[in-house]
Structure formats: C-alpha cells, structure tokens
C-alpha cells in the first residue's frame, strides 16, 4: 500500500520543491504574517477595549520600581538576603532536631536493636554504621534548608518577580555569553546544584542553557556551606582577636561564595568562546503579568516537586556511599584498611596541593553527597593518625561538639592554615556531587557534556590549590 503511494507522493514533492524556488527566501515570514494578520482580525472583531487607558496600572507601576536604575538592584539584594536569612535561621532548629533524632538517638537505638537480635558485627556495621549513618546525615543537613528555600523561591517565581530579576541582570550575564535567567538557576544552585541544573530548563537558548548547566557547580550549595563555616571559624577566625572572630570567618565564607560567582562568570565566558562557540544562541525573555501567588498550594507543590525529588535522589546516592565508606575503613588488606592504603597512595599528591591524603579520599568518598565531607575527614583522620578517645570506631562518621576538640584532631592530622584555606577552595572548586552529575546527564542527554561538567572543575580545583600552595610555601620560605 505504501509502495503504491510512492509515486503520487514523489510528484507532490517535486511540485513543492520547484515552487520553493519561487517563494523560498521569506517563506516563514509570509506564513507567520498571514496567520497573525488573521488572528488580529478575529481578535479585533470579538474584543471591545476600554475607550482610554486606565490611569493607574498596577503592573506598570510595580515594574517601574522593580526595574528602575535606583531601586532595581538594592531591592533584589534585600530580597535575596531575606530569603537566605529565612533559610539559614529557619533551618537551624529543625536541622539540629533531625540530627538529635536520627544520629544521636536513632543510631544507638538501631545498634541496640541489632545487638538484641544477634546481628553479626559486620552486617550491623555495614547497614547501620555505614548506610544508615550516611543517609541520616544527608537528610538532617539537607532537608530543612531545602524545605524552606525552595518554597520561598517558588513564591517569588509565582508572583512574577524572578523574570524581572533575569531582566535586570541580563546585561551582566550577556557579557560572559550567558543568559540573564542564569541568575535564577545559579541562585537555585545555592540551595542545591541538582535543582539548579533542573532550573536551567527555563533558558530556551541551547548555548546559554548549556553554559548554565556546566557552571552551576560554582554556586556554593547547601551541602558545602557547613564545611566552609566550620573550617573558617576554626582556622580563619583564630587569626584575629576573639571579638572579631565571628565576623572575619563569616567574611571568609562569603568571600568563597563570591569567588564562586566570579568563577561562574569566568568559566561562562571561557565556554562561550571555546567549546560552545558553535551552539545556537537565541534570546527572548517574556515578562509575565504579576499574579498573586497561592501560598498553600505553592508550598505543597514545591515540596513535592523540588524538595522531595532532590532529597530522594540524594538518599539513593548516599546509601551506597555509606556502605563504601564503612567497607573501606573495615576491610583490612596486609595490615591496613583499604582507606589507609588509598590515603597513603594519595598523600604525596595531596601534600603537593597543600591538602593531604585524608582530604582527597574524603572527597572521593563524598562524591555522592558533599554533606558528609567533614564527618568522613574526621573519621579517616582518627583512623590514620591513631588518636584515641575520639570517634565511634572505624567507618562510623561523627562530629565533635566543641571546636577545641575538632581543632586538636585536625592538628593531630598535621593540618596547617594552608590546609584549611585550600580545603575551603577545593570544596568550592571540585566535581559536582553524583546527584548533580546524574541530573546533568538527564538534562543534556549527552555523555560529552556530563564528562566536561564533572572533570573540568576538578582540574580547576587542582590547579588553584596547587598554585596557592606553591606561592604560600614560597612566601613562607622567604619570610
């Protein structure tokens, strides 16, 4: 049947092809013009508009303020600060409650339960110390801030404010070859890079969307803030008198976040000039009318849509990470654990970068979730430095209540100020977590871009820490 029909079809095609030579050049233009002309006519016949424009137009008045040269940027900063402040202060209490429930109470309870049913130590260690602890850790650090940040963000989005932010910031992003909407995916990245990568869907230009995906990692995510804050307060804060310590360490953390933004622009520009040169770029940005957000529905749907989806993926990746961590600390080969072998192997490279073997291994183990970097470092430091009296055994992550104890542990691990600074830098500039990598693969559908997004930041991180370490040591040797 199809074969019979081939002949008339070929005739039709050749007619069409020959006619195309007559009309080709602006076919699309004439076509859209015709459709829009008819649409306008029909719309006109059915619509009666008010005689004169209303004197007060809410949308226009609001837009005048939001996009004004004087008020546009300050307003944006204030709103951003409010969102961050609400997230940080609001997440503190539920986060520590979750930690108490899942880590301090849940863990011993499960251990007791396992002992009472006579579970062998290795199974109990593998399941509870390994898998359960890692997952519990990720949930208690990640869930509360995300459950606050995302709904707030969604409310601003539903109201129609965020497209105006993209509108105001586009000039800045255009200069590095990116799209103004990247401001939003980047801000989203401060909550979670995986969510930030998904948020790039609003960018409809292929090149700019890829740029936004590949650079989202430089937005310091929720899972990395705790690392930055802890290290800054222990090492940077200690450099200045006690009354200034809090302020200076906060400044250091903000400095790292700003460095991340700077790197976003830098690498966006680099990407658009090199590997992404040939990708199509189009710009259009619609500024929708303001609409009152429906608060309860927004909270409900943004928790379902964003928070739980991202959390679920994180859990899926944290489970095996916990298992690997526990196994690497407990499987002994030739007198040393696997983790010990790996640390010894990476130690020289780590030292060259101004870090150490423990930190590098911790970053490898923590690929699934940045939240567990610090507890992993502490566990591994105890493992290799032979410090006694702290920790809960090989393969069990922990944190110490007091800064003094933590500091003592790090010093026993041979840490200096350089180690701390480079750890902060490397925590900003390293590969995205596996949830994000998976999301990048899903969003781009390309192995090539996924590889670039994963490897380029690690290489950059190595380069930056390497240079900082050498210059640091050079200055030290001169002094």
């Amino acid at each position: 049947m199809t074969i019979e029909k081939t002949n008339p079809l070929d005739n039709i095609l050749s007619t069409a092809q020959s006619l195309r030579w007559e009309i080709d050049v602006d076919f699309h233009e004439k076509l859209t013009e015709s459709i829009y002309t008819d649409a306008a006519q029909i719309a006109d016949r059915a619509t009666t508009r008010p005689e004169e424009k209303p004197r007060f137009d809410f949308d226009r008045t609001l837009d005048k303020i939001i996009t004004s040269k004087t008020w546009g940027f300050p307003l944006m900063l204030v709103l951003l600060m409010i969102v961050f402040w609400l997230t940080i202060s609001g997440a503190n209490v539920p986060s520590s409650m979750l930690a108490t429930l899942l880590l301090d109470t849940g863990h011993p309870f499960l251990k007791g339960l396992a002992a009472s049913i006579g579970m062998p130590w290795w199974l109990d260690g593998f399941l509870i110390d390994g898998m359960y602890m890692a997952t519990a850790w990720v949930i208690s650090v990640m869930l509360p801030p995300m459950a606050i940040f995302f709904p707030l963000f969604t409310l601003l989005e539903d109201f129609g404010y965020l497209p105006r932010v993209a509108f105001n910031l586009d000039n800045l992003f255009r200069k590095s070859g990116a799209h103004g909407k990247q401001a939003l995916s980047m801000t989203m990245g401060f909550g979670c890079n995986a969510a930030g990568v998904v948020a790039t869907r609003i960018i409809d230009s292929p090149r700019e969307r890829l740029i936004a995906i590949l650079t989202n990692n430089f937005a310091l995510c929720n899972g990395r803030w705790p690392t930055q804050i802890l290290i800054a307060s222990l090492f940077i804060g200690a450099l200045v008198p006690a009354q200034l310590a809090g302020f200076v360490s906060a400044l250091a953390v903000v400095g790292i976040a700003l460095l991340g933004i700077f790197l976003t622009f830098l690498s966006s520009r680099f990407l658009s000039k090199t590997v992404l040169k040939g990708e199509v770029s189009t710009f259009s940005l619609e500024l929708p009318p303001y609409r009152p957000p429906r608060i309860w529905q927004t909270i409900y749907t943004s928790i379902i849509d964003r928070t739980l989806v991202v959390l679920w993926r994180a859990i899926v990746f944290a489970l095996p990470a916990g298992a690997v961590l526990w196994l690497s600390a407990n499987v002994i080969i030739a007198g040393t654990s696997i983790a010990g072998h790996l640390i010894n192997f990476l130690e020289p490279f780590g030292l060259l970068l101004g870090l150490n073997g423990v930190i590098l291994v911790a970053f490898i183990v923590a690929i699934p979730a940045n939240e567990i970097v610090i507890p992993t470092i502490m566990m591994l430091t105890v493992l290799v430095s032979g410090v006694t009296g702290v920790g809960e055994g090989a393969g069990v992550m922990f944190e110490l209540e007091s800064g003094m104890e933590t500091m003592a542990l790090f010093q026993a691990g041979g840490w200096t100020l350089l180690t701390a600074v480079n750890l902060m830098l490397f925590s900003l500039i390293h590969n995205p977590c596996s949830t994000t990598i998976y999301t990048i693969y899903k969003e781009t559908g390309s192995k090539k871009w996924t590889w670039i997004a994963s490897l380029a930041p690690v290489i950059m991180g190595f380069a930056v820490t390497f240079v900082v370490a050498q210059v640091w040591r050079l200055i030290e040797s001169l002094l």
Binding site: K5, L19, L31, S34, I42, T47, P50, E286
Partner: protein, 274 residues
C-alpha cells in the same frame, strides 16, 4: 457497564490507540484522549488541575511544563485521559517544545485538543489556535483569565469568537474553577461527534504563497483523499519539513481510520522516542 462502554466506543474514539501508546500514553482504561495546548503563561496548568484535581506545579514562567503531565477525568459515561503539552507560541517546530506539541497533535491524533487562551492577549493566543486548527478540527478553545480581562476593562464576545473560529469557545476563570462544567460539556460533545466544527482557514496574504499552497494541496487531496489537513501538509512540504515527508511516505498521515495499526505504530516509534 464495562460492556456498555466498550460498545459505545467501538464507533466513537477517533484516536489512534497504538500510536498513542508509542507516544507514551497508556489508554488501557480510557475512552478518549484529550490534549491540552496553549501559550506559555495562560493558566494552562491551572486548567489541567481544575479538570483532573491533580496539583501540578503551575509556575508563572513561560515554558514551564517541559516534562509532560498526564491525568484523567470522568464525564458522563466516558473516561478521558488528559495530556498537558508544553506551552508554545507557535507550532512551526522551531524549538523542541514546539516539536513535541506538534507531534502529539499530529501523530497522537487526540480526540479533542483544548487550546487554553489568555483573554487579555487574544491576538497573540489566536496565532496558536489557528495553527492547531490547521492540523485538527477537533478543537475546543478555553478562554481563560476572564477575570483579568474584566479588570482591564476588556470585553470579549465569546459567541462571536466561536462563530468566527468555527469551534466551541468556553469562557472560564480556571483559578476559581469557573467554566469547568461548560468546558467538560464542550469537550464531550466534540469527542462524541455531537458538535460539527467548521474551523477557520488562514488566508494567505502573499499571492505567490497562496498560489503555491493551493497547487500543492490540490495534488495532495487527489493523492490522499482521506487526509483531513491537506492544506496544512502542503504548507509544511513547501517549508521543506522532512518529517512530514517521511510521515507521508510511511502512511502515518494517510488515514484516520483504524486498521493498519501495527505498521503505523512501528513507524511512530521514531517520533515517540525523540
């Protein structure tokens, strides 16, 4: 009850079950499939939620629904599957979104396509309505955001609009579920062939274009008398749309009757996967 529905639907559904399956829509428990199209930011997702009761996130962003949402509803004696298409300004397949929406309407052959329209920006939205009507005559226009139009002092004569377009037009305020029963009624009438649509055809302003389209569509009508949208196919051929050529060659557009399904669905896999 079950037998009842089955008998009723031996004659009624127009949709192509196998093709839909390939497009990822499971029609096992449904009688009709309804596609939901519309410009970005017209409250399309709100209409979706009002019809299905699902709480899909409805962001104030152009082009929000990138992944396709699906839901179901019952009206009268029939079960309807509702498929939310990406919000687009046009169906000329410039972007991936537009291609997805276009392919669904073209190859999925939904029994009804609801086009959600923003009453305050009628002209811009009718552009899409006219394009959808070129592909299928089984269209219902949901004239949404009537409250905003009223606030801006805009009056819309929906009966005049329906007459001009040649398809049912239902004014609504989806946020408050106003107009939902009327929309359901209109959808069921189109699905059950109780409404006869005479969709408006775009007039081409450029004489060369008009002549070319007429010439090609005449040839198409002669070769494929059963094709419902010869006019549109002619335009696509003149625009050099290779996928339409391929679809014609494989007989995917050839007829709307059942039968020959296996061959057609095998062809559709190519489209469904993209």
């Amino acid at each position: 009850m079950t037998t009842n529905t089955k008998e009723a639907c031996e004659t009624c559904p127009i949709h192509d079950a196998a093709a839909l399956k390939k497009l990822g829509v499971d029609m096992a428990e449904f009688d009709y499939v309804v596609a939901l199209a519309g410009n970005p930011n017209t409250g399309k997702s709100t209409v979706f939620n009002a019809l299905t009761g699902l709480r899909q996130h409805t962001g104030n962003w152009p082009g929000k629904t990138v992944t396709r949402a699906e839901g179901g509803f019952e009206y009268g004696e029939h079960k309807y599957k509702l498929v939310d298409l990406p919000g687009t300004y046009s169906l000329l397949a410039t972007s991936l979104d537009e291609e997805v929406a276009r392919d669904f309407i073209l190859f999925g052959q939904p029994d009804v396509t609801i086009v959600v329209v923003d009453a305050t920006r009628l002209e811009r939205n009718l552009n899409l309505v006219l394009q959808v009507m070129e592909i299928t005559s089984r269209v219902v226009v949901a004239l949404n955001l009537m409250d905003e139009a009223e606030r801006h002092g805009i009056e819309i004569d929906d009966r005049r609009l329906a007459r001009d377009l040649g398809v049912p037009v239902v004014p609504m305020i989806a946020r408050q579920s106003d107009g939902v029963p009327e929309l359901l009624q209109a959808v069921s009438e189109v699905a059950n062939n109780k409404t006869l649509s005479k969709p408006y055809r775009v007039k081409y302003t450029s004489p060369e274009l008009k002549r070319a389209v007429e010439k090609v569509s005449k040839e198409i009508e002669a070769a494929y008398p059963e094709l419902p949208n010869a006019h549109w196919v002619a335009v696509r051929l003149l625009d050099g749309d290779e996928r339409i050529v391929e679809a014609l060659r494989k007989g995917e557009l050839g007829d709307l009757k059942h039968g020959d399904l296996e061959q057609r669905s095998a062809n559709l896999q190519v489209f469904g996967n993209q």
